[in-house]
Symmetry: C2
Subunit: 216 residues, 2 copies
C-alpha cells in the first residue's frame, strides 16, 4: 500500500514537471511569435517532443493557454505580495505601483494574456484565475493603509494604474514616458481620495517624504 502510494506520487510529480516543461516551451514560443502566434507544432519542436505527445498532457490548445495563465497569475500574485521595504503607506503604494509596471512592461505578452481578453475562445478556469484575486486583495490592503476603502476609489486606482501601463506599452514600448509619471499619479490620486474622504492614513513612524497626514 505504501509503495503503491509512493509510486503514484512520484508519477504524478513526474507528470507535473513534464507539464511545466511544456508550459515553459509555450512561453518561449509566445515570446518569439506573439500570444496569438502560438502553434502546437512550434511548441512541440521547442519542447523537443512530438505534437501528439502534447496531447498526452493537455487536452487542447486552450488548456495550454489556461496553464500559461495560471502560471502568470501566480507569478503576479507572488510578486505583488512580496514584503515591502518601505513603511510609509504612500511609499508602499508607490512601490506596489512600480512592481505592477515592472511586471507588465517586462513581458507584454504575459500582460496581454493576463489582463486583456484577446484570445478568441479562451476563458481562464477558476483555478487558474484564483491567484489574481489574491493580488487584488493585496492592492486593497495597500490602499486601506492610506485610508482608502471606498470601492469607487479602488476602481479609480485600478483605472489609473492600468492606464499608465497601457499607454506605456502601447505608445512607448521599452521607454519610460508614462512610467516616470508614477509619483505624480499617486499624488494626484491620494489628494483626490484623501481630500474627499474622512479616514486618514494611519500615522507612521517613517519618513513621509511629502504626504503628511493633512488632518487631525
Amino acid at each position: 500500500m505504501y509503495k503503491a502510494a509512493a509510486a503514484s506520487e512520484w508519477r504524478s510529480a513526474r507528470r507535473q514537471s513534464a507539464r511545466d516543461a511544456i508550459v515553459d516551451a509555450a512561453w518561449r514560443v509566445v515570446h518569439a511569435e506573439g500570444l496569438a502566434g502560438l502553434s502546437l507544432r512550434d511548441l512541440a519542436k521547442v519542447a523537443g517532443i512530438s505534437t501528439p505527445t502534447v496531447y498526452a498532457y493537455f487536452e487542447s490548445k486552450n488548456a495550454i493557454y489556461d496553464a500559461m495563465f495560471g502560471r502568470a497569475a501566480t507569478e503576479f500574485a507572488d510578486r505583488m505580495t512580496e514584503p515591502y521595504e518601505a513603511v510609509d503607506p504612500r511609499e508602499v503604494l508607490i512601490a506596489g505601483f512600480r512592481r505592477f509596471i515592472e511586471f507588465c512592461t517586462t513581458d507584454p505578452a504575459r500582460y496581454q494574456l493576463l489582463f486583456q481578453r484577446t484570445i478568441p475562445g479562451f476563458e481562464p478556469s477558476p483555478e487558474s484565475f484564483a491567484p489574481a484575486v489574491r493580488a487584488l486583495d493585496s492592492s486593497c490592503q495597500r490602499l486601506a493603509a492610506n485610508g482608502i476603502r471606498d470601492p469607487r476609489h479602488v476602481d479609480m486606482w485600478t483605472a489609473v494604474t492600468t492606464g499608465v501601463v497601457d499607454q506605456q506599452i502601447s505608445n512607448d514600448p521599452g521607454g519610460r514616458r508614462w512610467t516616470d509619471l508614477v509619483e505624480s499619479a499617486v499624488d494626484m490620486f491620494l489628494a483626490h481620495c484623501q481630500g474627499a474622504n474622512r479616514p486618514r492614513p494611519r500615522a507612521t513612524t517613517a519618513k513621509g517624504r511629502r504626504r503628511a497626514p493633512t488632518n487631525p
Copy 2:
C-alpha cells in the same frame, strides 16, 4: 479628353464604393467573430462575392485591416471634433471624455484595432493613421482650454482616460462601473494639474458648475 476623364472618375468612384462595401462586410464579420477571427472566406461570403474578387480590391488581408483601421480612425476623429455644446472648459473636457468612452465601449473590436496592437503582423499605414493625430490634437485643445499644456499632464490625461475605458471594457463589459467615474476622474485630474501649474483656465461667461477659476 473630357469624356475620358469623366469615365475614369466614374470608374474610380465605383471602385471606391466597392472597396467600401468590402470593408463594411469585414466589420460585420469582425463583430460576429472577433477581430482575429476575420477570414477572407467569411468576408467574401458576407460581401456576396468570391474570395479572389477580394484580391481585385485589396492586395492582402493586412490591406483590409488597414482600410478598416483608416475608417475607424476617421470615425474617431470626426466624432471627437464635432462641436461641443458646453462652453465651460471643464464641461467640454468631460463631454470629450464621455464621447471617448462611448466610442470605445460601443465597439470593443474597433477599440482593439485602433488602440491596442494585437494583430500579429499588422501596422497601420501612415495614411490610415493620420486621422488619429487630428483627434489627439483636439484633445490637446480641450486640455489647453483648461490651462493644461505641460506634456506630462497631457500624458497623464491619456493615461487616466484610457485606464477608465480599459477597465470598463475588460472588467465590466456592458456596464457602467468605471464609466460613472468620469466626473470624479476629471476633478481629480484638474485639481492635480491646476494646483501644480501656473496657467489658469480662461474665464468664460458660462455656468462653471463647480470648477470656478481658483486664482486671479
